[in-house]
Symmetry: C2
Subunit: 242 residues, 2 copies
DNA sequence: CGCCAGGTTGATTTCGCTCAAGCAATGTGG
DNA sequence: CCACATTGCTTGAGCGAAATCAACCTGGCG
């Protein structure tokens, strides 16, 4: 063991994702506080980060990997709301409003995620007003995204919504092959993909079938290949008349 | 004219809605700044407050009346996203992110609405950190609402979504008649109501017809009457099995 | 008066959901 | 190692909900 007990956690001072998120405005002193208060651990794919109904002990910051926000309604329907990626902070809602969790979160794949207890969050927010401003910006973009999604849900077909989702996933998880086609490994099951566009999994299955028929994309297990990336973009371009 | 030029605007010091919103944390000095910077004016029903694409000059605070947030997509579909009521602050997105308006806002009925330019907002935010915290809470609840709406849209039928909407409107606009039934004047056209649940106006028309058949509510023009208020609540209660 | 926006209603088609069966991959206990 | 559940996915048939296209009211309003 060349590296001692700091091993599992990333040192906040050297945390790359941190330099691009809310916490980037912390000063040296505050960073020290953060570094010694945060607890970092690894999650395996699908492991629960927090669950609906439990008290909000703090926020989480994704170092690597990702997370999914899930809501399960009173009849057992599971809906994936949102995906969260490295550098993003998770679970601020319950902490800022001091309420219990209304959504669950789970690791998207093997992930490294830091936990910052709510007491420390409050101290830092009180000590450095810029942190609050950063959070404000962050939350405003979140509400913005949610509103965009609401508009899309209200106007688009399931197929179009799914293509939007594919594009978003491709941005995060895709790589460009030598022949210019885009390939990715889906981080989610078909069921969860379906829930994200508000459709049944059978319906998604058929949509995928049609996308393959139309030569837009090829699906094999969790691997997706899009030969002509802008065929996807054409799909979502609204057919403007006149 | 017994009252001089302060006439159109409400004095912030005596503004009742203000005492229950973000601005309630301002101190006397800051309030004075706000009071002399804000511009208050009346809007008539349907009048535009700000439009998509224009620069975000400031935020608006509803004194009386209400406002609707509207998005019009590239093919001309109009979607109503959200309604805003007295005490609530409007248009913070563009100001906080320093972007142009991505949604339009219009008066719901005859309304009195104050404008606070973004420069003043920034000054106040910088001077009083508590204001930022207040905004943070406010925006977090907004994102929360949006997420709830997303989940409902993903799982509920148009009829159920409409009943949810009716209940929300009834809370704001309804009065209880002597016989215990609830009555309200709808603040929106059928088209806009339909857009709020992501349906066509013809579909909404039929849903309304069925609600009347089922004796849940009676519609006449923009007047709605619900004889047994909990018949609505029964509608949205999920049928829990076993 | 004609015109128009807002609303209803009808006929038809499309889309998506439900229910159901089948299948491959994976796991588990004997 | 096999029999057997289990899980995730696909496919089919039937049905219901909603979109679409269209006609037709109604109440303003120039």
């Amino acid at each position: 063991m060349e590296r001692p007990k700091t091993m599992p956690g990333v040192n906040c001072f050297e945390c790359l994702p941190r330099e691009r998120n809310e916490w980037s405005v912390l000063t040296g002193e505050e960073l020290k506080l953060l570094a010694q208060a945060k607890k970092c651990r690894k999650y395996h794919a699908g492991e629960s980060i927090f669950a609906i109904g439990e008290p909000s002990h703090g926020v989480y910051c994704i170092v690597s990997g990702g997370a999914a926000i899930r809501k399960i309604d009173e009849v057992g329907n599971s809906v994936l709301l949102h995906l969260v990626y490295p550098g993003e902070t998770l679970g601020y809602r319950g902490v800022l409003l001091d309420e219990e969790r209304r959504f669950g979160a789970e690791a998207l794949g093997p992930s490294k995620i830091c936990f910052i207890d709510r007491h420390t969050v409050r101290i830092l927010l009180g000590r450095n007003p810029a942190l609050g401003q950063q959070f404000l910006r962050r939350v405003v973009t979140d509400v913005d995204d949610a509103h965009d999604k609401l508009v899309r849900n209200a106007t688009l077909s399931n197929r179009t919504k799914f293509v939007h989702l594919l594009l978003a996933l491709m941005n995060r998880h895709g790589r460009t092959a030598t022949d210019g086609s885009r390939v990715m490994e889906l981080p989610l099951s078909r069921r969860d993909l379906a829930s994200m566009i508000g459709a049944r999994h059978e319906t998604l299955s058929r949509i995928i079938g049609r996308l393959e028929e139309d030569g837009v994309a090829r699906f094999s297990g969790r691997t997706v290949c899009v030969r002509h990336p802008h065929s996807l973009i054409d799909e979502i371009r609204p057919t403007l008349l006149s």
